[in-house]
Symmetry: C2
Subunit: 316 residues, 2 copies
């Protein structure tokens, strides 16, 4: 048990566990339960993600990177709800108590959690194969939550940022592929330090019909929206936003990586034509690129202009 006391003390003393000045957190780490008073008029939204070593991130990775990315990928779900980050819990299963690893992991988590006001308020630590479960919680006005199920026929379909970089980065971060230092630095960062689009999510929630974050690739994730909304979509393969770095490095496969690659954690959202000007204004103000990639249709899922191995990448 003593080793797990040590773990608790590492997290409890971290800057991300300091409840001072947070009137919503009545009890943090250390009791049977944490206790929170959700601010009046706000609803609580939350998402749980589990990351398994060797499956969701490479073996023997830098614990600082693992910690940062664990928080980033989970917080991205709050962005998709337009919610303000509030607090999180951590279920950490690890093979042994390694104080240096733990300090790095806590540092990586705090690096993202602290500036966005996401407090660590509880969790559990157990011994076993390295597995990280996070539950992140945020606050949002209940009537302003952009759900997956509210896309409407005729909506524009947008994505923020660029797609495909994180998928292209996988063989680099696993060490299978060696590239120039410049490419290494760029793609390493794209994989390990995704930027959850929190501010964009909060700003967009008033104008969008539906929104989600892209964790499994736009080709797959947009279908979560169309299925939940009972509609279809047509997107333009050549409209998918791709970074200069990726296009220069892999001009042939950049498009397919953007279409099918996961882990970018950009936002995908649908909105009526009437919102075009406002959306442009919001994203210009945030200096965040945003691209219209297609539209919501009555049914089916079509990727126009895809001339890969098959005649086209289609479902249904």
């Amino acid at each position: 048990m003593q080793e797990f006391e040590l773990i608790r003390s590492i997290f409890q003393s971290s800057i991300m566990a300091k409840t001072e000045g947070r009137s919503d957190i009545l009890l943090g780490i250390g009791d049977d339960c944490a206790q929170v008073m959700v601010p009046e008029g706000q609803s609580l939204v939350f998402s749980m993600d589990t990351l398994v070593e060797g499956r969701h991130f490479p073996f023997d990775a830098d614990p600082v990177d693992i910690g940062y990315r664990a928080v980033a990928t989970c917080v991205s779900d709050l962005a998709a709800m337009g919610a303000k980050p509030a607090f999180f819990t951590l279920g950490l299963t690890l093979p042994q108590s390694d104080p240096q690893w733990l300090a790095g992991f806590a540092e990586g988590m705090a690096e993202l959690a602290e500036p966005i006001g996401l407090l660590l308020v509880g969790g559990d630590t157990t011994k076993g194969p390295l597995t990280i479960t996070l539950q992140v919680h945020g606050y949002v006005e209940s009537e302003l939550t952009p759900k997956r199920s509210q896309a409407q026929v005729g909506d524009d379909v947008y994505v923020t940022g660029t797609l495909g970089d994180a998928a292209a980065a996988v063989p680099i971060v696993t060490g299978e592929l060696h590239v120039t230092a410049e490419r290494f630095d760029y793609f390493y960062e794209q994989y390990w330090r995704p930027s959850p689009r929190l501010i964009a999510g909060m700003a967009l929630k008033r104008v969008v019909h539906s929104m989600m974050d892209i964790s499994d690739g736009i080709g797959q994730d947009l279908q979560h929206i169309t299925r939940a909304s009972g509609v279809g979509a047509r997107i333009e393969f050549n409209a998918l936003p791709i970074s200069e770095m990726l296009r220069n490095w892999q001009p042939e496969s950049a498009g397919i990586l953007a279409l099918t690659g996961g882990d970018d954690y950009e936002l995908c959202f649908t909105a009526p034509h009437s919102a075009r000007d406002e959306i442009q204004l919001i994203l210009q103000t945030l200096h965040l690129p945003c691209t219209r990639i297609g539209e919501i249709t009555e049914s089916g899922f079509v990727v126009e202009g895809y001339d890969g191995d098959t005649a086209g990448w289609q479902h249904f």
Copy 2:
């Protein structure tokens, strides 16, 4: 991905995921986040527990039992806060998608969750060694939360039910020890089907000073209260409540199992002398045995009357 769609459908179709009639649950399984509106005037309490196969429960156990016990052990933390169960999330890592195993696991969870109004609202499923992380959430008036840190010198120390059965059961449930059918049935049940003391917790929260659930053994857990409260405790070894079944079976070791054995999930609480009559009345009404085992002192932790291998079981 298809296999994990199957898993989602098993949980989503379970009786414990039905949000009908629950005005507090705005969004359940299926979006980026679940969404909840905490009832006015109530605070949210929550606890996360991780269970690893082979460490927190035996390999190849009945999935119905695993599911029931996972919910029970985690809900026990809500009982310790005097909270009303509300909803939970499930992070499930499992080696392969086995529909029969999953159906049993869901059935076991629902068996406890459904009657106590604990709804499954979200989670994550991943592939890897069998690891179960639950976060259970409950509602409680913020001013009535019995914390670990509020024990006062002179308080009586009580435990509900009996202690030691679950620890005695371990070699039975792992198959290391073969016993009579009557003993097997009793101890198997004690290990796999602990009863979280929810009603007792809710009824007692108005009269106790501090309360917690006993998961690691009273000898260890009571010290969480004394440390958090900056006090000591003296308990009577011979006052520890022990079941007839355990005393008859293991008269020699029953006491030490009651003192140091975990997994009973009874409540331990401290309360002033002035509350004795009320406490007796509450627990008689609930038909729940409750035993005064000692008192809160200025400092130290003493177990009087323990004549085992050492002169006495003492810390400090």
